[in-house]
Symmetry: C2
Subunit: 280 residues, 2 copies
Amino acid sequence: MTLSLNQWTTRCWSVAEAVDGCVRHGLEAIGLWRQNVADQGLAESVKLVRDAGLRVSSLCRGGFLTTSGEAFAEALDDNRRAIDEAAELEAACLVMVVGGLPGVRPGEPLAAGASRDLAGARERVAEALSELAPYAGERGVKLALEPLHPIYCPDRAVLSTLGQALDLSLAYPEEQVGVVVDTFHVWWDPRVFEDIARAGRRIASYQVCDYLHPLPEDVLLGRGMMGDGVIDFKPITQAVLAAGYSGDVEVEIFNADVWAADPDEVMATMKARYDEVVLP
Amino acid sequence: MTLSLNQWTTRCWSVAEAVDGCVRHGLEAIGLWRQNVADQGLAESVKLVRDAGLRVSSLCRGGFLTTSGEAFAEALDDNRRAIDEAAELEAACLVMVVGGLPGVRPGEPLAAGASRDLAGARERVAEALSELAPYAGERGVKLALEPLHPIYCPDRAVLSTLGQALDLSLAYPEEQVGVVVDTFHVWWDPRVFEDIARAGRRIASYQVCDYLHPLPEDVLLGRGMMGDGVIDFKPITQAVLAAGYSGDVEVEIFNADVWAADPDEVMATMKARYDEVVLP
């Protein structure tokens, strides 16, 4: 298990800068975001990580698959492109944030046409997966289903628990579909240790950041540096290890203060806290 | 299944005013809060509801049992008093909000001494229940364990899912310990229908209110009038009915706009929305 920088933790850095930062701070892996890769150029991003000798621990993110009709077809197309990009980058997985209730948008008041059909949205995700998993499998890419904290159920992900994501993954080979364990999203779940053990080698990514208290007004930014919130990381890390996970540990922090800080200082703090509070 | 007013929906009303409001609007039941009962006087509150011919669908609330040492002993004492009050009021149940991580307070920055021991806090709840359930049983009071939305796990309730609350209740007779199904807290849970069926006659209270999107800055106040948020109520009501629940349906709304409105208008809207979106 080694530390990886998810590049949104140092959000102002381009792919080139983040790759350089990883090398400078002695990291072996990096988690990339599609829009940053697009800004840098896919071919150049591939060259940068390869020349630096870094593993790509994940590409973030595919998903947003709960729509229907033309929008659903477009979402599938976009996800196929994301899979192609993950293949080029030889990313360990493509993180899938599956989408919320159709028509419910983050931060925006509920529109008249917003859907309340949660069961239907969840069925749509299963349907999309049956299209995308074989496509990913052919390209050697693993889809990593990320359950998000229930607070994001309306607008970002109708996958709300690790157990639910895991159950969805079981219809596919382990190389095609796995799950993400992200401490922020799962720390509260009374079944999390049982489900981590059950997931075993289905765990495709282990992401860490803390759960701040109180949450800021924009709850998306309630993710903190490890040690700044309420999560007890070591038992979760131990469980993930015991389940057989031997991949990288990505630090992914969405936080206005962290984003405003000097990225090199963030990297230094991240390394120290990783040793102090994340590793068993 | 009949409609009941949880008195915090019309928060500016005293017990006397809320009882009067229920009679005026043709309701048969009311959910009371301990502090309001204390303000009115316990004996007078008992007389008011009896003279009005109302059932007390619940008394809110006992709980906050995750501390240790002297604070734990004090919490047990306070809960015994709450049980005595519920017995006097012949409340259908005493709602238990079990408490969050020790030292983590709602709305306050994380203190240096705050606990991260979630497993320990959950054990403390089980321990407290073994003290309180027999006491409640002797007085004919049913403790209703309320799982709260995971967003409240740090500061209000380490019981986060219906399944978890149900599992905890199973060690006691059905008359002593049951569970609350509150739509706001459980709507997102992929196991909720399975767990409602499993709970069967353990369901001690069915509370309804909507889940607003986006949540307001104070997430405690993210509860809305039914129909104003993202919840599809009818399938949940149907499941609760199918499980054998035949008690009252309490509308419990924590919401700054609802609290600022004319309580009689709130009652009228509540009745209309109950018929329209809650009943199957």
